[in-house]
Subunit: 219 residues, 2 copies
């Protein structure tokens, strides 16, 4: 779902639009939206500023494209996990599977977030102060993703009030998304953080550290 027009050929033959999109995502992440000039951006892809308007109608449209791709990737990752649990069969011990479902979605969220860092990070770092037209354009996709998590938490934490679930969800989002600003990229690191977050979220830090994530004592 939420298909993104994927590049067909090898990286060298990426379309002009694709190359601009990637460079923009990276620059927006590193320097911010307003701080990034179309001149610098054009230089990144070996073009001049004016030429970019053949591919994008405005700078805002460029940001919208970056954010839409980022959120589509997050949605896709969520749905993959859903599909995975669907084929696992409906007659599982649904009670004890709650923490595992949550853990799977946490891992998927963090992997998608970091694997596509350039496109996804914008939602964390620059959505809030983006031009209104940009926010409005991207909002439907974002709302859809949040709705999926809202539904997930309702299933997994049925005894909590709606207010509590909302705060828990936003707290969890905060913990995960802030990692964009400090976590080293790399699958191993991301997965370790994901396991820690999932374990901490469900069991808390008051109980014993789990066996596989740390030996006995400090290492």
């Amino acid at each position: 779902m939420a298909a993104v027009s994927a590049p067909s050929g090898p990286p060298e033959t990426l379309s002009g639009r694709e190359r601009i999109l990637s460079a923009a995502a990276q620059r927006f992440l590193d320097a911010g939206y307003v701080e990034t000039s179309l001149r610098d951006l054009a230089a990144d892809v070996g073009m001049k500023a004016g030429s970019m308007y053949y591919h994008f109608e405005s700078k805002d449209a460029l940001l919208i494209a970056v954010l839409e791709r980022g959120m589509s990737l997050m949605v896709d990752a969520f749905e993959e996990v859903v599909d995975g649990f669907a084929v696992a069969g409906v007659d599982n011990a649904i009670e004890s599977a709650a923490d595992q479902r949550l853990a799977a979605h946490i891992t998927a969220h963090l992997r998608a977030l970091h694997d596509n860092r350039a496109f996804t990070a914008g939602h964390v770092t620059l959505f809030r102060t983006a031009p209104q037209v940009v926010r409005e354009a991207v909002l439907p996709l974002r709302d859809g993703y949040e709705a999926r998590w809202t539904a997930l938490l309702a299933e997994v934490l049925p005894d909590r009030s709606i207010d509590e679930r909302t705060m828990l969800r936003l707290g969890l989002f905060g913990a995960m998304n802030a990692s964009i600003e400090w976590l080293d990229t790399g699958r191993g690191t991301v997965d370790r953080f994901a396991r820690l977050v999932a374990d901490q979220f469900w069991r808390g830090v008051g109980s014993e550290p789990s066996e596989e994530s740390s030996g006995k004592g400090k290492r």
Copy 2:
């Protein structure tokens, strides 16, 4: 500690520098740093752009002042909690007090964050992309605050590895600080969120919801 030259008189007699500082903090929060022009800012305090240079040597200096004030307020809040536990006496049941110490600091962090939203939010929303001179100027204060939390977690979670404590700390920071972007201001709301975060962080969501924060079932 980390004393901030506080205004002396009533709000109407705030010095020009103070009024500029508050207006700047608010505008930076709402619109972002680069998006805020000195002309708009001057209009907020009933001045013209050129006049601001009597009070601040540059726009960067203005942002530095905002961020320093914000972080000083956070440090002060942390130290107040430390002092509170100090007078409570050293011969307490230190083992069982770990979760209470943590909860007190979480509440203090969230209160300080939201009570001084305009000044503190900048550290969440615009520190990352701030000009390098700004980041460098404010970094010592930030490092000091983080060091306090690092030490706190070392005392409270002695069995965890340093790596895990770092990730837990940054995850907790993420959960708390992201609330700047969604939590309604207001002491009641902030305190409820603080209790939820503290409880969730220590005990997890897998266990029963605590008695005082929710009745039985959904309400």
